[in-house]
Amino acid sequence: MSGQTVPADFSGHMLDLDEDDDLEVFSKNPSLAGGGPMPNSPSSMVNQYRLEEEEEQQEANARDLFITVDDPESHVTAVETFVMYRVATKTTRSQFDSSEYEVHRRYQDFLWLRSKLEENHPTLIVHPLPEKFVMKGMVERFNNDFIETRRRALQRFLSKVSLHPVLSHSHHLEVFLTAQDLLPYKKQGPGFLSRLGETVRAVASSVRGLKSRPEEFSLMQEYVEDFSIKISSVDKVTQRIIKEQREYLDELKQYNPTYAQWAESEGELAEPLNGVASCVERCSKETDEQIQHLSSVLVPALHDYVLCAETLKAVMRRRDNIQAQFEAKNEALGSRRTDLETLQDEVDSLADRVELANNALKGDWTRWQDGMRADLKSAFLSTAEKNVEYYEQCLAVWESFLLSQRVEPGEQRDGEDAS
């Protein structure tokens, strides 16, 4: 694939490469087979790519870095059990020596990558990782659904990072994607104690309080707090809907056996009764699919942004800290008599740091907002489409039953018409 330019409709291109292992996760879904225009499949993968297609159109450059996360495998050692994911990369970027890479990473490794990215770019908005544990619901760490949900979230994380104009060029990302063994890299970098010191200084500065936050960041702060509350509410409502739908489906499933049992004791009435029974059964299946779709499309999207809200808060805090540190040193400058030059240099470099941090955040803020809008718009659109489809399918089922009943009994065909 090296040297080949990736076409704009890369997703269609990807689906053609079916001998490729990396695409197992896509072609396994039968609704995706049979090429053509992008099918409206419930798979979040497809939606993910649709979204990225939009983003990609926004970016000036054609996308040149594709990462997939798949093939989760349980590993058992004497000390612990964990899951390893395969991370496969395809790229045309010159910074990479090769055009394809395959490594195995565990959740911890992802945490390491993200913390490195945040460390080096404190005021950039790094997409969140799925949580360590799922508190409510007491999900087992090695339950299949949990692993699959996590895998998709990890995929989204890397996808977002790979699209970021700054983060995607991070050395740590390169190492993450290419090094067979991460351990030597994990040991590098500022030690724990020095990082601790840095944190203490930061906390100390912030305790003294910020002199004045620039207006735009105050507005940002307000927005972040509001957004956090709103997105959590939407997330909760969605979870509630799924719960109610599941309970509805459970009751709905009782219809079929009841109508079928009734049909058994009837003569002429048996046929329409069985017809209704079969209609309700088909509607039950559609309801099940609708619930699946909600769980796999809307819930993960919303959940990501619930976590994003926390990320945003942290970013705002870090920016504030950087400003506070500068202000503290600047103040000290005012009351110093000796060593003015060195102190001035420190203050200057801190001032630069503030400017850099502010600009980085300003730039990333718009990018993040656009991304959020696109992601959630896509997720809501997909949900609305799925709901329309759900009702259309059910409508067809009942209409075909009606049709079978309008026919004179003598002319009735066997079973029902296919819709």
């Binding site: 509805y248 009782q254 009841t258 259309e392 309008r406």
Partner: protein
């Protein structure tokens, strides 16, 4: 609910958009078509319901509902002219109950149409179970009208004088009913219960019918229970979407580009949440149709039990006759078969005289003759009952198949209407999301 006296809208084959008015009239029209002389002469409506208060039998104040019955001559009204004013009278539920009990007793071989339920059962929790609730009263009004129409369209019941008086004589009707002395004909429960255990040769048709009726009762009850639970859950699903409305609205306030799209999508979510009330109200109509046949099973059971009772009495009479004939034989041949007081006393006090024997024989002969008469009567009664009952059972079965099939069809139509609403709302929401 539409005024079912109107026969304008008739469903056309091929048109899937049958309204509830049409489907109701489907029922009414077919009843009139099969036409009894009564229905040919008059239109019957239960037009209104009103609350009254008065003193009851224990001199306590109570509130009850009365229903206005309208009778109108069935005439085609020429265009431009107003139809003649109806004759009206008021009846309360207990009057209907009395009428029904009377019909049950007077025409025991007829499957008498049931009344709507006295108290709301099989309710899903949001639906009122209160007897004075306007929705319940309205549904009961429809049920009572349906009852009257069913009786009026029955080939036998429609000719009943007391029924006619019910529709025409407001005062004095109760007295008239009681004067018929129908209470005397009420079979004691104990009698009918014991009949069930001891009938030797019940007509197979009735045993099968009883089994079917029990099965139908059980399965419809089950269906109504499931329906209530499903309705409850569906209500929950729709109403939770209303929360989207509120949250989207709040969220849109802090967004710039996304704001409008979110806000308008939120409105559609509110519409979606509100739509469930009408949907479930319509579904109550389906539940009512099922309930009618659930209550019909009681009437069917009554007929079966009546058959058993008559059959039992017949067998008792036959048994008794055999016993008497045996006694006569014993007396003539002089054998003492069974340990009897007569045998004892004759042993103790000596054989009876020839005179005594002859008078006993004569009494027995008389008894046997009477017994044979009774047997013939009972036989005829039984055969008559079986014949007329089977006729009505056939009529009932056809009616049931027709009505329930229509009910299933109207259920499908309701589902279609619900789906169409859903498509509408979510398509609109999709447009809004597109604008985000």
């Amino acid at each position: 609910m539409a005024d079912s006296g109107r026969i304008d809208e008739v469903a056309v084959i091929g048109n899937t958009d049958v309204t509830s008015t049409e489907s109701e009239n489907n029922i009414i029209n077919t009843m009139v078509e099969r036409g009894t002389s009564l229905l040919k002469k008059m239109e019957i409506n239960v037009a209104e319901a009103e609350k009254r208060t008065g003193k009851n039998t224990v001199n306590m104040q109570e509130t009850y509902t009365v229903y206005l019955i309208e009778i109108r001559p069935a005439e085609t009204v020429p265009e431009g002219e107003t139809p003649t004013a109806p004759d009206t009278l008021w009846r309360r539920y207990s009057d209907f109950e009395l009428l029904r009990t009377y019909l049950l007793v007077t025409h025991p071989y007829i499957i008498v149409p049931p009344l709507p339920e006295k108290r709301a059962e099989f309710v899903w929790h949001k639906l009122a179970a209160d007897n004075l609730d306007p929705d319940f009263v309205e549904r009961r009004r429809v049920g009572l009208e349906n009852f009257l129409l069913r009786v009026a369209s029955h080939p036998v019941l429609s000719n009943d004088k007391i029924f006619f008086l019910f529709l025409t004589e407001e005062k004095g009707w109760r007295e008239a009913v009681l004067e018929t002395g129908f209470q005397d004909k009420v079979d004691s429960r104990i009698k009918s219960l014991s009949a069930m255990y001891r009938v030797k040769n019940p007509d197979k048709r009735f045993t099968e019918l009883k089994l079917y009726s029990d099965e139908l009762n059980s399965v419809i009850s089950q269906l109504l229970r499931v329906r209530a639970k499903v309705a409850d859950r569906l209500y929950g699903v729709y109403k939770v979407h209303g929360n989207y409305g509120r949250v989207f609205s709040e969220w849109s306030a802090i967004e710039k580009e996304m704001g409008d799209g979110l806000q308008s999508a939120g409105h559609h979510m509110d519409t979606y949440a509100a739509s469930i009330d009408d949907i479930l109200e319509e579904e109550e109509h389906y539940a009512d149709q099922l309930k009618e046949y659930l209550f019909y099973t009681d009437a069917v059971r009554s007929v079966c039990r009546k058959h058993e009772l008559i059959q039992y009495e017949l067998e008792m009479v036959a048994q008794d006759l055999i016993h008497k004939k045996q006694q006569k034989e014993d007396l003539t041949t002089g054998t003492v078969r069974v340990f009897s007081l007569k045998g004892m006393t004759s042993k103790l006090f000596g054989q009876e005289s020839q005179e005594q024997r002859e008078s006993r024989l004569a009494a027995l002969d008389q008894s046997i003759r009477e017994g044979e008469e009774t047997l013939k009567e009972k036989n005829t009664e039984c055969q008559e009952f079986v014949r007329t009952a089977c006729e009505d059972i056939e009529r009932f079965k056809e009616q049931k198949d027709r009505d329930l099939r229509e009910a299933l069809i109207s259920y499908a139509i309701m589902q279609i209407s619900m789906c169409k609403k859903g498509i509408q709302v979510w398509s609109n929401a999709k447009e809004c999301f597109n604008k985000m």
